[in-house]
């Protein structure tokens, strides 16, 4: 007597979303995202001869390097992290369902929260200072970032109680510092692929040198998401739940 996975996954998502998308968190993260929008709006009014390239460039630097990774870290690591910290994971874990369903439910929950939280300020910003090509490019790049970082940080939240600290160190030290040292190291950072996507779609070569092709970007993203889900499932199966 088991229900279809779709039903159970949806039931878990309905539980996880309100737990991670607390009002304070959503408002704070939206506010961070909207700050540049407000600034851009005033700048645009004060000076209407703005340069076109700036939008994509600014967005790529601010959004892809700082804003999106941090917002994804906060929400995605909270999905399983909160369940573990509050010791309520047992209410999902001790049920006659495959553990992959829990992994999928957490991952999808973070996507469902992150996509609106991130795209609202992104669309507004692109609308104010960019053109349509920029908007599609930045949205695609943002989506790739959400999926890739989301899978990684969902897993991180399950593995360690201090996911935020390790995530910050990863973002600042690995992606921000080491990733910039050499081309080879750069390929091991997610931002290489998100910036490549933006560079290709928005046709903005100034963003990154030698961008990867879109095919590579998509393959890498899908592989990362799959790896994140498999690792999460495997870790859930081996876990000692308390």
């Amino acid at each position: 007597m088991s229900t279809s996975p779709a039903v159970t996954v949806v039931a878990m998502i309905k539980r996880i979303i309100p737990a991670i998308a607390t009002r304070g968190r959503v408002i704070t993260m939206l506010a961070f995202g909207l700050l540049p929008v407000v600034l851009a709006f005033f700048i645009n009014r004060a000076d209407d001869g703005g340069d076109d390239f700036v939008a994509a460039d600014l967005l790529s630097r601010f959004s892809l390097l700082i804003y999106i990774p941090l917002v994804v870290l906060i929400f995605a690591s909270a999905t399983l992290g909160t369940l573990r910290e509050e010791r309520t994971l047992v209410y999902f874990w001790l049920r006659p369902i495959g553990r992959w369903q829990i992994a999928v439910a957490s991952f999808v929950s973070s996507l469902l929260v992150l996509i609106p939280v991130i795209s609202v300020p992104t669309i507004l910003l692109a609308a104010i200072i960019g053109d349509a090509g920029d908007m599609i490019g930045i949205l695609m790049a943002a989506l790739i970032a959400i999926v890739a970082y989301g899978a990684l940080f969902t897993f991180l939240g399950l593995v360690t109680q201090r996911a935020l600290v390790w995530g910050l160190i990863y973002i600042i030290v690995w992606e921000g510092f080491l990733g910039g040292l050499s081309r080879a190291a750069g390929r091991l950072s997610i931002r290489n692929y998100t910036r490549s996507a933006l560079s290709r779609i928005a046709d903005a070569p100034s963003i990154i040198d030698n961008p990867e092709s879109m095919a590579v970007v998509i393959i890498v993203t899908v592989c990362l998401a799959a790896a994140g889900l498999v690792l999460t499932t495997w870790w859930l199966n081996a876990l000692d739940v308390d």
Binding site: S2, V7, P18, E86, R87, V90, R95, V241, D242
Partner: protein
């Protein structure tokens, strides 16, 4: 329904459970022991939340850690208080029903809440609930799929007396329905009230097992101390001392004496006739260590 075969569990170099074996059938079993004795660890291993370092556990014929089917027939009332507290009770229990594959999850949730005397139509969230109500919500989510095995870790802790009475009654009722209910506790009075079979765990080992009264019987051989209030303590004292099983009598004052005996059966038979013989009234005959608490202390060896 549960077969525990020589399990041990250690964390780093600390032994939590050591070489414990038992089997459980339908009805209520109390898992008794001091804090840190390994009760929770044992329950967690039975539920499959963690695996034994050594030995094997079979629940309903299968390994609980691997079989999803077995998981669906276990209900667990865990010790931690945190629930999904922004939800209403009925939503929380309904989620449990859905994940357990119950057909009409909502109906099942409502009926489980009614079983624990909570209102399914309550609009408040669980965060506004008292400790006792939360405890009952946890019981409801464990019952909603009609499990064959119900594991309850300290379900009586934190409840006030009235709530404890109700919870005890519910546990008895579930046991009578043929569910295998395992209740861990260190609140002894309640276990006594459950009137169940008992597993005593102390220092990670199984210290005693069996019917509560049988365990008590085993304990009859140890020294007992009884307080007697009477009208003539001295006369009764010297009369009682003539029995060989009674090895000490302490006269506290004119109306009270304490009797130490190794043969409590003899004492129980003889106390009334002896009092009548010396013409002393008995106002109280009170065993001072006949409760489970003393049995427990005796087993734990402190």
């Amino acid at each position: 329904m549960v077969v525990v075969d020589r399990i041990s569990k250690w964390f780093d170099d600390v032994v939590a459970v050591s070489d414990v074996s038992f089997t459980l059938g339908p009805g209520v079993t109390a898992l008794l022991g001091p804090n840190g004795a390994g009760k929770s660890t044992t329950l967690r291993m039975i539920a499959g939340l963690t695996s034994p370092s050594q030995g094997a556990i079979q629940v309903l014929g299968d390994n609980p850690r691997q079989s999803a089917e077995v998981r669906g027939r276990i209900g667990l009332v865990s010790q931690q208080e945190q629930l999904f507290s922004e939800q209403r009770a009925v939503e929380f229990v309904q989620l449990a029903a859905t994940l357990n594959g119950v057909g009409d999850a909502e109906a099942a949730a409502r009926s489980a809440l009614q079983t624990v005397e909570l209102d399914p139509d309550d609009l408040r969230t669980i965060s506004t609930y008292s400790k006792g109500m939360r405890q009952r919500v946890k019981v409801a989510q464990a019952l909603v799929h009609k499990p064959a095995l119900l594991l309850m870790d300290e379900p009586l802790t934190g409840l006030d007396p009235r709530q404890r009475l109700k919870m005890t009654a519910l546990i008895q009722q579930l046991g009578a329905q043929g569910i295998c209910v395992v209740v861990s506790s260190h609140v002894l009075e309640e276990v006594e009230r459950l009137g169940s079979s008992v597993l005593v765990i102390a220092q990670g080992r199984l210290a005693a097992q069996g019917d509560f009264h049988a365990i008590r019987q085993l304990m009859e051989n140890r020294p007992h101390r009884i307080r007697i209030r009477t009208t003539d303590a001295r006369a009764l004292a010297s009369a009682l001392l003539t029995y060989s099983g009674i090895h000490g009598v302490e006269v506290v004052d004119e109306s009270e004496l304490l009797v130490d005996t190794n043969d409590v059966a003899l004492f129980r038979k003889r106390v009334a006739p002896t009092a009548r013989y010396v013409d002393a009234q008995l106002y109280e005959v009170q065993p001072l260590d006949d409760d489970l608490e003393s049995v427990f202390k005796y087993l734990v060896g402190r």
